[in-house]
Structure formats: C-alpha cells, structure tokens
C-alpha cells in the first residue's frame, strides 16, 4: 500500500484549485443555490475553454484521455468549492459515451459542441414507472413506415421523470422501448436527441433538497435515425457504458467535508465549540469523512490502473451518502433552532444539508440498490430480484 499522492494528480489538483479560485464567484454559488440549477454557463464555458472537456477521460474501451484519478480530483475539488458542476458532469459523461459508441454524425455534429461548452446534456433514463428498475423504461420509439430509400424516422412517445438540467440542455440521452415483446433488457434503444425537436416539452419539478429537476414529455416526436446511439434494441449495452462512466464522473462524495468545515467555523463563532457533546459529534463526522475519502478514492484508483471498478463504486456511494445523512442530522441537532433558518448567513448550510442529504441516498442508485449489488457481487449471496 502506498498513500503518497501521484505528483501528476497533485499538479492537476493545484491547477483546478487555481482555476476555481479565479473563476468561481460567490454570486454563481448563491445563484445555483437559489434557483436549484447547478449549472453556470459562464463557469462552464471558461472551463471548456481550457480544453478539459475535450480531453475527456480514459474509460472502458477508450484509449488516452485524462487519468480517472485526475477526474476524481477534478470533481472532488469542484464539490469542495460548491461549484455548480452538474451540467459539466452530465456532459462529460455523455461525451464519453458518444466518443465510444456514437456515429460519425454524432462525432461531427454533437461532440464539438460539448467540447466547446456550447451545449450540455441531460440524462433521460428515469420514468414515472421506472426508477431503480431503469431497464423497465416504457417511453416508446416506433419506426415510422416510409420509403426504404429515406433515412428511417422514429416516433417517440412517453414521459421522462427527473430529467435534471433538461431546461438548459441542448441534448438529452434517451432510453426508449423499441420492442415491448421481448425481455425488458433486450427491447431498449438509446438515442441522443436535440431538446428543440418539435413535440418535446418539459415542466419544472422542485425538490426538498433545493435541486430543480424536470418532467419531460415526448409527444409524437419525430427523431431521425441518425440520432440513434448504438444498435437498435442494443440500448442496454449503451446503458452499461454510461453507468461505467458515471462511476468515474460523479466522484463528488465529500459533502461531509464542507459541512464539517462550515459547522466548525459557525460553532467556533457562537461558542458551541466549547461544548463537549458538540466536539465529540464533530470528531465522529471527521472520522466518517476520512473513511469516505478513502472509499471514494478506491474506484478511481482501480480505473486509473486500467481496471473496471464494480462493487467498489457501490460501496463508496453507499457509505458516503449514509455518512452525509448522519452528519446532516447531527448538525441539525447541534445547531438547534438556528439550524432551521434558511437564509444566507448564520447556519443556513445546516438547513441545506439536512434537506439535501436524503436526496443523495436516492439518486445515482438508491442505497438499497447499492446493497443489492454488494450482497450479490461482493458477498456472493443469491440474486434477490
């Protein structure tokens, strides 16, 4: 075992820290918090201009690109700084999938726009009837009969739920049902669809944690075949690639660190820091943060060494989100009534954490789904679904 950080990675960390210090303003952070849209075009374009999106990440089946460990550090630092990075994360993920699976058309038409920071992507997996069971997607895509000489066209009808950032996105990666008569994993097809096609509309959904997300409706949307991503009925294969990238990209699991930092500052100012009970609980949070950091680093290290992290991602995500909830609940108690106040200043971050933490055990695969994965693939217990 060797815990010495890699010099190239530390150098990259210094770079992103410097970038954030120069480009991220309190205004941007505050606007994201107020609107629930964790994306800032100014910040996003400035980052894109450095070439960091274009460089992409090394991934399964992709040579070159950035060391996954650097990607981990990238999102770790953005998270620590409270940078609004969801658009960036979605876009880097989808860009990775497009590079690996996209057609020549995608590569020419979409990828450069992602790379230049002109467009961001949204993820259209979840539906009203399918969340954890993502392969049960029912949004229908049917081939429109037409002249075999012409480019085929797909008629898309259905509804996606929780399409975060679709209101800012140029494209949505869309999981559809193309064959309802076969086993669920085998009747899916993936598309990357421009959000301005006629028939696409969305509606905001506000959440307890402050994130704004959306419902997206597809009503007789005509999607030319060139927007298809991967094989017809091969949607699940694309999904697997997307999920593998997701494990690399959504490396931000350090919410407990900013919470502890803020709480310690607040508790010092208010004198709460002299309370033994408070100190003890903060020490517990510090331990959880250390463990979370090590567990979160592990999948990145595996990917960096050329491996494919499997249950390590689940283990990290489960631990990080559960620990964040413990920390948020503890801070809420310790702050007392002041922790309930939601205006900037004072202990607003406690109220924020207490509402934000429960969301983290839901999105990106719920805690139960992560445990199922760990039980089956790490402990060797029988499949329970």
């Amino acid at each position: 075992m060797d815990f010495r950080p890699k010099e190239s990675v530390e150098e990259f960390r210094r770079w992103i820290r410097g970038f954030v210090a120069e480009h991220l303003t309190e205004d941007m952070i505050e606007r994201a918090r107020r609107t629930g849209t964790f994306h800032d075009w100014g910040f996003h374009r400035a980052l894109a201009a450095t070439g960091v999106i274009a460089e992409g990440m090394a991934g399964p089946g992709r040579a070159g690109g950035r060391d996954p460990l650097e990607l981990y550090v990238f999102f770790d630092e953005l998270g620590l700084a409270d940078a609004p990075f969801y658009g960036l994360a979605n876009t880097m993920l989808v860009a990775g999938v497009v590079e690996q699976i996209g057609s020549a058309f995608h590569l020419a038409e979409v990828l450069p726009r992602f790379h230049r920071g002109e467009a961001i992507a949204a993820l259209g997996y979840s539906e009203p009837g399918s969340g954890s069971d993502v392969a049960a997607a029912a949004t229908r895509a049917e081939r429109v009969p037409g002249d075999p000489e012409d480019e085929p066209v797909w008629l898309v009808n259905g509804q996606k739920m929780f399409t975060t950032l679709v209101h800012e996105a140029g494209y949505v990666i869309l999981l559809t049902r193309t064959d309802p008569d076969v086993a669920k994993h085998r009747g899916l097809t993936m598309f990357l669809v421009p959000t301005d096609l006629p028939g696409i509309s969305f509606q905001a959904v506000e959440t307890m944690g402050g994130d704004r997300t959306n419902i997206t409706y597809f009503a007789d949307v005509r999607v030319p075949d060139r927007w298809r991503l991967g094989e017809v009925h091969g949607g699940w294969d694309v999904m697997k690639v997307a999920l593998a990238y997701e494990r690399g990209v959504f490396g931000n699991m350090n919410q407990g660190v900013s919470l502890l930092r803020r709480f310690t500052r607040w508790a010092t100012e208010t004198g709460a820091m002299d309370d033994t009970a408070v100190r003890k609980r903060l020490a517990r949070i510090a331990i959880d943060n250390e463990i979370t950091a090590l567990l979160a680093l592990r999948p990145a290290l595996i990917a960096s060494a050329g491996g494919l992290p499997t249950t390590e991602g689940s283990i990290a995500k489960l631990y990080a989100s559960e620990a964040y909830n413990r920390a948020a609940e503890a801070c809420l108690d310790m702050a007392g009534p002041e922790g309930l106040l939601g205006e900037p200043g004072d202990a607003w971050f406690v109220d924020h954490a207490a509402r934000d933490a429960p969301v983290t055990t839901i999105y990106g695969g719920t805690s139960e789904i992560q445990r199922n994965n760990i039980a089956e693939h790490r402990l060797g217990l029988p499949r329970s679904r």
């Binding site: 060797d2 100190r279 331990i287 250390e290 463990i291 090590l294 445990r371 329970s384």
Partner: protein
Amino acid sequence: MDLEPTEDQKAVRSAFSEFFTDRCPISVVRAAEPLGFAADLWRRLAAMGVPGMALPEDAGGGASRADLILLLHEAGRVLAPVPLSAHLAASRLLLDTPWCAGVADGTLIAAPALRPTVDGLARLVPGGAVADVVVALDEDELVAVRGEAPMTAPVNHAAAPLADRYVRDDRGGRVVLARGEDAARRHAALRREWQLYTAATLTGLAERALESAVAYTLEREQFGKPIGAFQAVQQGLADLVGPLDGIRLLTARAAWCADEGDPAEAGRLAVMAFLAATEVARTTTYRAVHFHGGYGVTLEYDIQLYFRRARGWPLVLGDPDEEYRALADDLFGAVGGV
C-alpha cells in the same frame, strides 16, 4: 498511490494467514479460555521471531507498521489467544532495559498499562495476566517493571488475559524510562501504538465474523430457501462491507504515515482507526450473531466468541468517549485554546 497490498505485503499476509489457520483453529481459542492465553501458540510465534518484530532491526526486529498490521489482522481473524498488540506496543519502550533480548525472543512477555496507575496499581492491564514486564505511567514516571506473571485473569467478557499489576515493587527490577512531560508524551505514544495494533486486530476479527455470517446464511434454510436469499438479511450484511473496508484502509493509512515519519498525522489516524474499528467490530459481530438466530447465542457456536472479544479487546483503554474528546482536541484545538 495504491490501496492494494504490494506483492511483498501479500506474501507476508499469506504466510501469517497460513500460520494462524494451521496453528490456531477455534479449538485453540476455546481451550485457552478462561485465561485467554495459548502458551504453545506464543512459543510458535516466538520461533518465527514475531515478538521482536516491532523493535529496531539490530534488536531483532525491523518490521514496518505496514507489516505489523498484516500480522495483527490475521491474528484477529482467528481470535489468536496471545497478547500481540499489548506485547508489540510495549516492546518499543524496552529497548534500553535489561529485558530487551528476552522481549525480542519472546521468552519475556511485555504489557502496557494503558491508563495511569492509582497508588502504584495498574488496573486491568491487557496481557497483564501473562506479562513478565509491565510498562506503566506511574505518576510522573514512565516505568518498566519486571515481575511475576499471575497466570490467572479475573473472569471477563472477552476471556482476555487481564490483570491488575502493582508497579512499585522493584524486587524483580524496575527501570524509570522517562520523567515528567517526556513520560506523559511517551505514554501517549504507547497508547496510540496500541490503538493502531488493536484497530488492525479488530478489523481482522470483523472481517472473519462477516464471512462466518455470510457462510451461515447460505447454508441455513428457512421457508424452503437459504436465509441469505432473503433481502432483509442481504441488506443487513451488505451494510457491513463499506465500514469494514473503511477501517482496513484507515488503519493502513495510519500505519503508512507512521512508517513515513509523520507521527502527528499517524497518531491522529490511529485514534480514528481505533474508534472506527471499535464501532465496526461491534456492529458487525452484533449482526453476525443476529443472523445466526438462536444458535448464534449458544456457546456451542463460535460467533459469540467473536462478539465478546469485539467488545472486550478495545474497552481496556477506557470509555471511547474520552478518546473522541481527545481526538476533538487534536482536530479542533483544546477548549478555550487559541
């Protein structure tokens, strides 16, 4: 950076794993109760040079902390009834005493009084029941005292070889190792060293307890299928994995920092690893017993042996609350400090 053991470390680990699997089946653990000491196992470890491992190379040791925690992890997996953490931690202070050679070759067993003495009496010293040399903070002196091992322990939760030892009797020899602030500082370092080793031991214990629970749930059938096929059981077991991996990594990081010569960070991480391992070992053994159902609490089943040691081994340091408080001082500065 690499979170996996090196090839060398893997070789060390599998050598110890083989040794303990061969020489310390659960029958040895049971036979060693109630004292909690298997003299034969200790002699075999001594033959391999284990008792001297924590000493410097020219005194018969030279092992890194990274290697020591691999040893202790494997010892924890089998609940080895030998006071390894205690002896190895105390041995580091005995270099310049007449007993160094004996401690290195294992003919003498050393034990640390983790809490300060009261009127010269060190209470419930881990390994104290079998120790020939006891290291203790006696008022403002850090002392090493050679005495008679009582070879009997008060009946206790973990069947651990605990004993009260009086450290002002100098008939067998008594050496003052340090005085004043230096004594307090070195005693604090001794406690942290013991915490690091105990964290590693508890990690092994918890790992094995989880494996036993998984194996049992695959074998035991109810309602026509293995209980391990029930999701409630699966989720309860899956929950234990992250914390277990976490304490293993944290302990390794603490050991690595110590080896790299960063004692402040190493000490802080050792306390964290100890506190986390204490909790994880408790939770893990609780669930492991629970998923064995009624059989888990019968003395015939081995899992209750794990449950009891998970609580007994760390508690000799004192109420973990005090350690949380000390950790907070380390992390955030003392109350009223600047």
